[in-house]
Subunit: 386 residues, 2 copies
Amino acid sequence: MPDTLPADSIGLVTPQQAHFDEPLALACGKTLPAYDLVYETYGTLNVERSNAILICHALSGHHHAAGYHSMDERKPGWWDAHIGPGKTIDTNRFFVVSLNNLGGCHGTTGPCSANPETGRQWGPDFPVMTVGDWVNSQARLADRLGIQRFAAVVGGSLGGMQVLQWSLAYPERIANAVVIAATPRLSAQNIAFNEVARQAIRSDPDFHDGWYAEHGTMPKRGLKLARMVGHITYLSEHSMGAKFGRDLRSDELNFGYDVEFQVESYLRYQGDMFSTAFDANTYLLMTKALDYFDPAASHGGDLAAALASASCPFLVVSFSTDWRFAPERSRELVDALVRAGKPVSYAEIDSQHGHDAFLLPDTRYQAVFGGFMNRVAHDIARAEEK
Amino acid sequence: MPDTLPADSIGLVTPQQAHFDEPLALACGKTLPAYDLVYETYGTLNVERSNAILICHALSGHHHAAGYHSMDERKPGWWDAHIGPGKTIDTNRFFVVSLNNLGGCHGTTGPCSANPETGRQWGPDFPVMTVGDWVNSQARLADRLGIQRFAAVVGGSLGGMQVLQWSLAYPERIANAVVIAATPRLSAQNIAFNEVARQAIRSDPDFHDGWYAEHGTMPKRGLKLARMVGHITYLSEHSMGAKFGRDLRSDELNFGYDVEFQVESYLRYQGDMFSTAFDANTYLLMTKALDYFDPAASHGGDLAAALASASCPFLVVSFSTDWRFAPERSRELVDALVRAGKPVSYAEIDSQHGHDAFLLPDTRYQAVFGGFMNRVAHDIARAEEK
């Protein structure tokens, strides 16, 4: 990071931790006896406690969405492009809450935490989480923070699924929903890619059925492969082509298996970085939460029927070259919202950046997203005036 | 296979083997001192030796393109839908030659063969092959069979690249070119998927830097993953969805990592079958041949300039839902052929089957492909009359 913080940065932030002693019943049938949630907040909660925005993270995300943890931190939080003073999610107006979900590996209780029953790491015994479980735990965090109702719940990708779940499970506690680059359920192809990632991790001899910590190993090979294949699905064919094309690392073909093309070098690097920074059991669990999410399933596949309980306005955003969760998947959600008679705005943003576009700055994306958030801020101000 | 052979099957076929003592200089700078090519032929070579069709295979293909090796064989050759009496490539009219390429693992000299210099398996010392090397070896097989000029060279996917190479390297020896579901060069995304497959194989502890045979192991985990990720790219999102959707293996979610969705079961099965039947070093080598193919590279990226040496009519075919080598990639080739002033017919076939569509029967595909081959047969007949 630079010597001075950028003017539109929320600046230095410190993660907080909330401990919950009340057991949490999970969709899988198990109960989490107690747990900690790690979270960050940006901005100030107003007196009416009406300006809170909840940020839900994606597959490999966490609570650190904006600002810097220290002046030495190389990069700001993962959504810093959109959260800060004067930004799309304006911390001069909103009180932003961003947490690490249960099962994560960034401080929140997860497979790396101690299992109170055994005293050793949960490891693979940590229960499989669902989007519904996460949203229930987020609602408890809201209680703890004294937030009865979020002005908006916002998320991209797997985060967008949590937003959708909020609108169905806690319609009275969510004033607005922003669902970005998401889908109401995974396709067979999505599940297939997740399954490749899981097989890569689980077939790594260093995985030891998930007890790698006790064996003093890390299934780095598997995690690296999982991340490489994931990464391909986050970029568009176009953005990969524009970034790397068929450029070679050196002037000549080496006719061997060392890195030859730039794209190989990039993928290996991304995979290596991830494999030492992320927990394998968490990765498995997050992919399962993705696979399972399907609110229409309990309504005979009728998404509009599933959405009947929702009551807030929606903003749905998709990106033209996103092939992980393509615009068609967002339109499926929009169509169902329309059929269910719910207020919804939809924007399909022209972008070359594939699924990753939801993380990046983009003029039209910011105009649409910022316009919606502006209206949310005005609603809060109007309510205060009364 | 059934008790009786289907009427439109070429019937029982027997692979043949040709030994070559003349060293083959390779693009990588090495020389293959001697080698064997395994091939099959269907139909009868006419007196003028003018009715020969060469079939070039794809990544995991081989010489067994049509018919059955025995009455016990469960499935016929890989292109049996299109090769046989009365079929698209009509063995009543054509003499079809189908070989296993160098570096393969189905009888042709490859990594599993003995290295004459050491007496042990070539293993990872087997030279990396290029599409150009293969075509040079195929030309020698043609010499051996007394075929001066093929009536057509035909192939899908990586096979289509070989057809293109034939038209450039041996324009006088190819009367017609049929390039199906191919591309004049891989994209960064294509290379990225190949690199994931290679990393999966090479990071398998049982790979032993390619010397697994000497260690009595097989890098099955890696090959399985490579095949799983490859398989996803062969199917369209639609065909995967239509075939499996979100169907579960059993009635309930198991909240664990056993097979849960049908698509997981299918992919694991495909991966397991492949991992015991295919050689890992061959798979690596084939992916490299794909990555390297780029005839425009030696012409400053100008594909039309590269095609200047071609002289035969082309048929180019693509499939609407093929996202491995999408229709745009075929159109790139067609546009360059047009710019180069070469005769070309192009058909984009509506299909739900993704890249795999080139292997399957389809009315319009067969009409276009069969119509072209019909004209090839008429040209042969007219030449005979003279």
